[in-house]
Subunit: 238 residues, 2 copies
Amino acid sequence: MRVEIWSDIACPWCYVGKARFEKALAAFPHRDEVEVVHRSFELDPGRAQGDVEPVLTMLTRKYGMSEAQAQAGEENLGAQAAAEGLEYRTRGRDHGNTFDLHRLLHFAKERGRQDELLQLLYRANFAEERSLFTEGDERLVELAAEAGLDAGAARAVLADPAAYADDVRADEREAARLGANGVPFFVLDRAYGVSGAQPAEVFAQALTRAWDARPPLAHVDAGDAGACGPDGCAVPRS
Amino acid sequence: MRVEIWSDIACPWCYVGKARFEKALAAFPHRDEVEVVHRSFELDPGRAQGDVEPVLTMLTRKYGMSEAQAQAGEENLGAQAAAEGLEYRTRGRDHGNTFDLHRLLHFAKERGRQDELLQLLYRANFAEERSLFTEGDERLVELAAEAGLDAGAARAVLADPAAYADDVRADEREAARLGANGVPFFVLDRAYGVSGAQPAEVFAQALTRAWDARPPLAHVDAGDAGACGPDGCAVPRS
C-alpha cells in the first residue's frame, strides 16, 4: 500500500500531522508493506524568493489578526506539537517561500533520502533558532548533507531554478485534481483521502479501511504474449 | 500514475517486454506523470546460489526439450529482441539464481538508481559475453558502480544475505496476491494488470484506459482537524 502526503514545510499542522500519522503507522500490522511518499504543496506560492518575514508579522498582516491572537495561535500549535513529542518554537520563527525546499525534496526522493531530509527541514523550521529562510543555499546544503545527500549535487540543484521544478508543479496539479484545498492531505492507495492533522486513531482506521478495500486487479485481456513462468518461457500463438 | 513491473533478470520476455512498454510510454501524452517501479519475481527460486548452468542445458534438462528445440526458442527470442533494437546472444548464456540481483535492485531503488541498474543487468545477462553468474559479487559491484551506486555500499549489500531480502519476498508475495503466474507482469495504478510482453499498442491502450479510469478519491470524513491553506491555519473546533 502506498500513502502520499501532501504538505508544506511552512505548515505547522503538517509537522504535527506527520507525527500523528507515523504513530498510527508504527502500530499498523502491515506497516512493512506501506510506502510513504512526500508530495509538494506550497501554502504561499505567490511569495517571492527571498521575501522573508517573521511568522507573527505575517499572521497579523495577512490575516488581520491581533498580535495577541497570532501569538495565542502559535502557543496552541506549540502545545499540540509538544503532545506529539515535537519541539516547536512559538516565537521568532520566519516565514518564506518554500519552492526550493520542495525542489530539494524531489532531488532527495530520487536519491532515496526524502524522509530524512523532510524531517530535518521540519526540525530546522519549527524547532531550531536559526532561520531556514535567511541564510541562503548553504544552510540547505548543510541539511541535505546531514540527510545523506551529496553536498555538491544538492548545491547544483539549488543553483538551477529549473531543477525538479516540474516535479513540484506536477505534485501541486495533482493535489488540485484530487480536491485538496489545504494540507496536510493524506492519500491512501489513491483511493482514500484524509484531510488535516487528524488524531492517530483516525489514521489507524483509514489505514485499515484502505488495506481491506484493496480491489482485485482487472486483468487486461489482450491475447497471448510472450511470458516466462515456473514452466518455462511460452511463445505466443499467432 | 504508477506502473509496477514484476520481472526477473533471467526472463527473456521481461527484457523484450520492458522495451515494448517503454516504447508505448515514450508516446504517452502523460508520460511525465507516470512513475515506473521494478518489482522482484524469481523464475527459479529453488535454484541454489552458485548453481549455474548454460541456458540450453537448463532448457533440455528441465523442460525435456531437444537441443534443436531449445536453440530454436533462443533464436526466436533473439529475433523478437532484435525487433526492439536489443542485443541478444542466442548461444553461450548462463542461467542461475537471481535473488541477489533483486536484493541489489532494491538497494538501487532506495538510492534512486533502480532503472539504471536494471538496464545494466539485463544487458549483462542477455547481450554480453561475460556471464552474470560465474564471476561472483565483484561483477555485480562493477555494474552497480556503473549505475551510479557506491561500490562499497553495493558490496556490503551483496555480502549480507539478509539485506533487502524482505523487500524481494514482499514483492513476490504481492505478485501472488495479484494473481501473477508469470512475468513480465505490469500493474497500472493497482487497477489494471497486463500479462506478458504485449505489443507496444496494447501497452498504449492500457495506459490510456488506466489514466482515464482514475477514480475520484473517497474523502474520509473524520471531522475537523488542524490544517493550513491559502487562508491560514485553522484550529479544529472541539
